[in-house]
């Protein structure tokens, strides 16, 4: 199937000389939820801004639904909705006016029933006659989402959608994202919260310092990098790791009451049986033990570290 967004060899160097994107290649599949994951300053906003037409690419090519975003910008942009990272709203307009304006701006004929539906979905209908400046920050963000959806986009960009957002809006937003996906909308979100990518996305792209380090199915990524952590609750406090355990990379936690061992589930030999045998030989007892899956956060940290370390 043809990708809904195709990015090839995209670079961006700002006037300051800063290279924000380095030869990025990426294909987004129609109907998926794609999370672009990376720390602050990685180039996520730059990438989105280029696709949406706000920033000019230095080189490379992007198509949206087959339309070149520069040469055929009209057709490309008509398909795209954007909720930017920063809260930018008019002050004196009413909610209804500003959302209707957005629909018109994107070249669509008025459709009051559709606008009403969006406003209701976002719990904004009661506020439709309020001036935007009278709304809370959370409500303003809802307005920005409504504006982005006003022209029925097929591709929706959410730039750091939950940064500084309250629990209720977060929940509503995820509900909406799922509903949009059901109706066939492709969603690309950026985040530096791992849980967000983990919770929402079908695929995850990891970006760091302007480079797309990897793109994976989320589940495959989790499995591939499926590190687990074994925690042993020691019977007696330990002040230092004994010589006899030097073969394993262990860490003392909780003031010496816990021993942690990170292992890879895909390894032939995890080293756990031998570790436990050695501990019993040394007379180190434990009251309890548990293992847990590493979060994407830990995976990400190790990825970025490995990436940096290999240079």
């Amino acid at each position: 199937m043809q990708p809904i967004i195709s990015i090839s060899d995209l670079t961006k160097t700002y006037k300051s000389g800063h290279q924000a994107l380095k030869r990025v290649d990426l294909e987004i599949r129609k109907g998926e939820i794609f999370a672009l994951l990376g720390p602050n300053g990685a180039g996520k906003t730059t990438l989105i801004s280029i696709i949406c037409g706000i920033v000019r690419p230095s080189s490379g090519m992007v198509t949206a639904d087959g339309h070149d975003i520069v040469r055929d910008y009209r057709a490309a942009r008509t398909k795209i909705g954007l909720v930017p990272q920063e809260l930018h709203t008019d002050a004196f307009e009413t909610v209804l006016a500003t959302v209707s304006f957005s629909r018109g701006l994107f070249g669509k004929a008025p459709n009051p029933a559709y606008i009403e539906k969006i406003l209701r979905d976002l719990s904004l209908w009661d506020k439709r006659k309020s001036k935007i400046m009278e709304l809370s920050g959370g409500m303003k963000r809802r307005v920005m989402i409504a504006k982005a959806l006003s022209h029925e986009p097929e591709i929706l960009f959410l730039d750091e959608p939950t940064a500084g957002v309250d629990v209720e809006l977060r929940r509503d937003m995820w509900g909406l994202v799922h509903e949009l996906r059901q109706s066939g909308v492709t969603i690309i979100l950026t985040t530096h919260y791992i849980e967000e990518a983990e919770e929402m996305a079908d695929r995850v792209g990891v970006i760091s310092k302007g480079e797309l380090i990897l793109v994976e199915e989320k589940t495959a990524l989790m499995k591939k990098l499926g590190k687990k952590t074994l925690t042993l609750n020691l019977s007696e406090q330990m002040t230092a790791l004994p010589e006899g355990l030097a073969d394993w990379t262990l860490e003392l936690k909780d003031d010496g009451h816990e021993l942690e061992y990170v292992f890879d589930t895909h390894d032939e030999r995890t080293g756990i049986p031998s570790l436990l045998r050695r501990m019993s030989d040394l007379g180190i007892g434990f009251k309890d033990l548990n293992t847990r899956q590493s979060s994407l956060e830990e995976i990400f940290v190790s990825l970025v570290h490995d990436g940096a370390g290999s240079k």
Binding site: I54, R56, R74, R77, E86, F101, G104, L105, G107
Partner: protein
């Protein structure tokens, strides 16, 4: 080439609604200012000046007054219209919309020009309360007004894209536009100046605009109407070229 009417209409309506929020002040202000001008210039000074080139002084200043106001209003409204979204960040939406540069300019400049023409018309009507003004070439006068409103608004639009602070936004109208208009013969005929000064004045483009506009009222101006028209069109073309260049390069709009 396709023309995106919905988009242009959306921007135009948005801008006109923005003016609408201050409709009372924007409409009353010109009435009051015009009245003041007539009281000060028309009655106090005009009573001593009586006539310029056979035209009663009160009537003589009407075109200049209309132009002065159109100039300042156009620059103010058009520059603000594009500067505000740049300043507040809402410009992201315009930049990401399927709107061409041409459509953007038509919408913003069209809205600002509409307001300028409305205000100029109010001044024209107010003037009638004080003096008897006959318009020799009504169609030419309306066309000239439209042409100037569009040109001035284009100039304002350029200023709004160029400006990076509110100070810059205000400094151009204050330091450049006001003096140019005042020295452009809005309230006198340049024939009344000493010969040396008259030559200097001829380098002021506003002279040609005011003179041309005055021609549509009284059938004569300081310079020939053809020269005035050429000046307006030259000004218009320069503004169009600059706007075109700004959009092509993304000047101060896109990184």
């Amino acid at each position: 080439m396709a023309f995106n009417l919905h988009s242009v209409w959306a921007i135009y309506k948005f801008e006109v609604a923005r003016f609408g929020r201050t409709v009372l002040t924007s409409l009353i202000t010109p009435v009051i200012t015009t009245s003041l001008y007539f009281i000060v210039f028309g009655s106090a000074i005009g009573s001593r000046m009586t006539e310029i080139g056979g035209i009663p002084y009160g009537a003589f200043i009407v075109p200049g007054l209309m132009m002065l106001t159109m100039f300042t209003e156009s620059i103010f409204n058009a520059s603000f219209g594009i500067y505000m979204p740049k300043w507040s960040g809402t410009i992201y939406e315009l930049l990401s919309a399927p709107v061409s540069a041409f459509e953007t300019v038509v919408a913003y400049v069209g809205a600002a020009a509409t307001k300028s023409i409305v205000i100029a018309s109010i001044i024209f009507a107010t003037a009638h309360l004080f003096v008897d003004v006959q318009v020799a070439h009504p169609l030419a006068m309306m066309a000239f007004m439209l042409l100037m409103a569009v040109t001035f608004c284009l100039f304002g639009f350029i200023l709004g894209i160029w400006a990076q602070s509110f100070e810059q936004l205000q400094v151009v109208p204050m330091l450049v536009v006001m003096p140019m208009t005042f020295l452009g013969g809005a309230f006198y005929s340049i024939d009344m100046l000493p010969a040396a000064w008259r030559t200097v004045t001829l380098f002021n483009p506003v002279v040609y605009l005011i003179s041309g506009f005055r021609w549509t009222f009284f059938g004569k101006g300081d310079v020939a109407i053809e020269i005035s028209l050429a000046a307006v069109f030259a000004f218009l073309l320069i503004c169009l070229a600059v706007v075109g260049w700004m959009f092509r390069t993304g000047y101060r709009l896109k990184n």
